[in-house]
């Protein structure tokens, strides 16, 4: 993973000093709250319902044991002993005090971490595939590209006061695990006919009030032109994005309103004008960054591990975990473990400081000192020998992190919702807990198979409900929490947005409604190998709409 040089380290150190002074100026009145708000947002500090919230950047989700241990220390010392993994691969703390935040930033800087631009109308954390560097279908590890974009976008003088937030994601594999099609800029690493590696660039994807799938604006951008091309896009957006209405200010609205062709023309015009060499990274710098992502030294192992197979045969719980939570590694004898942070009945994505320390230990001992945060709010240990999986699993069991539900119905994405968030219109975590509890039985989960439920507590869609196979949106209906269910969303390379199944229902009715949808799927699926989303695509919404009628029966059963 990337390691800071003196320049990177100086930037985060300077940033700590700058924010310390900004806090002092806020407290002494020389900065008004209106002036201070964008400054604190650009250091990840939100105001939530009960307290401030600090969002710590985990660039493209990658971190090492030392960093995770520092996050645990920070959670213990300055917060309430836990953190929340987010859908953009970051970590959130829910109870920091304003005056402590500069010290928190200083503690982060010690381990090459920061909160820079995790909020505000600027370019946010660049996210990537959690299986980067280990997936067999990978054309190229997306993280060097993500790191280059991170540096280019950090404290960018021209693009720090955009019309609205800006999110970039990069994928390097055939299967898109980074949801690039629903980002402001989505980048797919591709090969052209000559076998050269370059970028397919999508613009204008996004969720929220007006969800949209990104439009391709360049099929093949040569590698060396990336930063200049991104500058052209950002300049057009900065100049022409709407600033009159917060809900119409994302780049997706600009693309939609002027039309994709006109937008492409604007970008290409700007791109032709700008001085590429003054912006682009030269190949030596690109290579320098890429070298940090060289794979760890792998042992030459047989593809089948006898001890692993024996452990599965011996221990049915372990066998179940191995069946659900392991990702095929491109190296024989290795696997990537998905550590589920979705224990049944617990808030999705929350980890205690003890759990963080346990994961840090496991990463150092068994995963080449590397972990990934996924944007499904789980954690990946990416380089584990099959020989070691049983030992890792035993430690996960002790830490309460061994739930065998990766990708299954209880692996639910939920935003913090109205339990924490000021923007929320309803709670989301209790809905996730109720559904997970309802479907807790491991065998039943295995029978149902892959099913992504995503829950958002408001229209801003931080829970990504639009791209859930089942999406749930919590709203306020006449002062009562009310939930709309959507079906058929998908965040990957076949990206699609879910469609509503009918009017909203009360919180108590949601688990029963999900029950009906699952039963319908099990009845009509074309065999166990047809995943839920594929059945929905094949048969359409009607069988599922009908399953939710009559509504009264659902409410009575609840």
């Amino acid at each position: 993973m990337y390691r800071y040089d003196q320049f990177d380290a100086a930037i985060v150190r300077d940033r700590v000093t700058q924010f310390r002074e900004q806090v002092a100026r806020r407290l002494d009145g020389s900065l008004t709250e209106e002036e201070f708000t964008p400054l604190r947002l650009m250091n990840g500090l939100y105001l939530q319902l009960h307290a401030y919230m600090l969002r710590i950047a985990v660039p493209y989700g990658t971190l090492n044991g030392r960093q995770l241990r520092q996050l645990a220390m920070i959670a213990d010392r300055w917060d309430r002993g836990y953190g929340h993994f987010t859908t953009r691969q970051n970590l959130q703390l829910n109870w920091p005090r304003l005056a402590d935040v500069p010290d928190i930033l200083a503690a982060l800087a010690e381990v090459e971490m920061h909160c820079i631009q995790t909020s505000g109308n600027c370019i946010r954390n660049v996210t990537a595939d959690q299986f980067a560097g280990v997936a067999a279908d990978e054309i190229e590890d997306p993280r060097p590209t993500a790191e280059l974009i991170r540096q280019w976008s950090t404290l960018h003088p021209e693009f720090s006061f955009l019309p609205r937030k800006f999110k970039i994601a990069v994928t390097g594999a055939a299967r898109d695990r980074a949801a690039v099609a629903v980002h402001d800029i989505g980048i797919r690493i591709v090969r052209n006919e000559a076998g050269e590696v370059g970028y397919k660039v999508l613009v204008g994807g996004g969720l929220g009030r007006t969800p949209m799938i990104g439009k391709t604006i360049r099929d093949f951008l040569p590698r060396g032109e990336l930063l200049a091309f991104l500058e052209a896009i950002m300049r057009v957006y900065n100049l022409e994005g709407r600033r009159d209405n917060k809900y119409k200010a994302r780049i997706k609205i600009l693309v939609h309103e002027i039309g994709t062709d006109a937008f492409i023309a604007r970008v290409e015009e700007e791109y032709a004008r700008l001085d590429g060499p003054s912006v682009n990274a030269d190949p030596a710098e690109v290579a320098r960054i890429a070298a940090y992502f060289a794979p760890p030294t792998y042992e030459a192992l047989p593809p089948v591990s006898e001890s692993f197979e024996a452990a599965k045969a011996r221990d049915p719980d372990f066998a179940r975990f191995a069946a659900t939570n392991l990702f095929p590694h491109k190296m024989p004898g290795y696997t990537a473990i998905t550590v589920s942070v979705k224990p049944i009945g617990a808030p999705p994505g929350d980890a205690t400081s003890d759990q963080m320390r346990a994961l840090a230990d496991l990463a150092e001992l068994h995963s080449a000192d590397e972990l990934r945060i996924t944007h499904v709010q789980n954690v990946v240990l990416p380089h584990v020998k099959l020989d070691d999986v049983h030992e890792v699993w035993s430690a996960l069991v002790e830490a309460g992190l061994a739930t065998p539900n990766a990708g299954l119905i209880t692996d639910i994405i939920a935003c913090p919702g109205m339990d924490y968030c000021k923007l929320a219109t309803a709670r989301s975590i209790p809905i996730a807990q109720a559904i997970a509890t309802r479907f807790a039985d491991a065998e039943r989960q295995a029978l149902i198979g892959e099913l992504g439920i995503k829950i958002s507590g408001c229209i801003n869609a931080c829970g990504h409900h639009h791209v859930g196979a089942i999406g749930i949106l919590g709203l306020d209906k006449a002062g009562v929490e009310n939930y709309q269910i959507t079906l058929g969303g998908d965040p990957g390379e076949q990206a699609s947005l879910g469609e509503r199944l009918g009017p909203g229902i009360g919180a108590d009715a949601v688990p029963e409604a999900i029950e009906r949808l699952v039963e319908t799927y099990l009845e009509i699926r074309a065999g166990k190998d047809e995943a839920f989303i594929d059945t929905v695509r094949r048969v359409g919404l009607d069988p599922f709409k009908n399953a939710l009628q009559p509504k009264e029966a659902i409410l009575e059963a609840a």
Partner: protein, 143 residues
């Protein structure tokens, strides 16, 4: 000479000159939706362009300044309106020479704060102010 409009005689302080005599030292004020192309033919004649910043959160002026410098404008660039000291470094970095703020704001945020804010971040991943090299470029030298 006398001047007439639809209401009768009038006066004006403006004195037209022939195009070839249009001197230097012209100062222009533009809004932050100003189209760059319209200004391009005038750039050699302008001593000062003041770009409006109606709100400090409205960053369009930064792109306009960048565009003017990229188009070859060598005169003074002024960011005029509402900015905060924490933006001063960014303003200089994209090509502004000056920032103009209200008296009230200047009283609350004296010059010392602005100059101090400049000193806080030493390096930049992008091309620096006064043309100083970006971190990416400086690494080539160090390597």
């Amino acid at each position: 000479m006398k001047l007439l409009d639809r209401h009768g005689w009038t006066t004006s302080a403006l004195v037209p000159v022939p195009l070839e005599e249009l001197g230097d030292g012209v100062a222009l004020a533009v809004g932050n939706t100003q189209d760059l192309e319209a200004l391009r033919p005038l750039l050699g004649r302008l001593a000062l362009i003041a770009i409006d910043f109606p709100k400090f959160s409205d960053g369009r002026g930064f792109s306009i300044a960048r565009g003017l410098r990229a188009a070859g404008y060598k005169g003074t660039l002024r960011a005029s309106g509402v900015l905060i000291p924490d933006q001063f470094a960014f303003a200089l970095q994209v090509g502004f020479d000056e920032v103009e703020i209200s008296d009230d704001q200047a009283a609350r945020q004296p010059a010392g704060q602005w100059l101090h804010a400049l000193s806080l971040i030493h390096d930049s991943y992008q091309q620096g102010r006064d043309g100083t090299a970006s971190i990416l470029a400086r690494r080539r030298v160090v390597a």
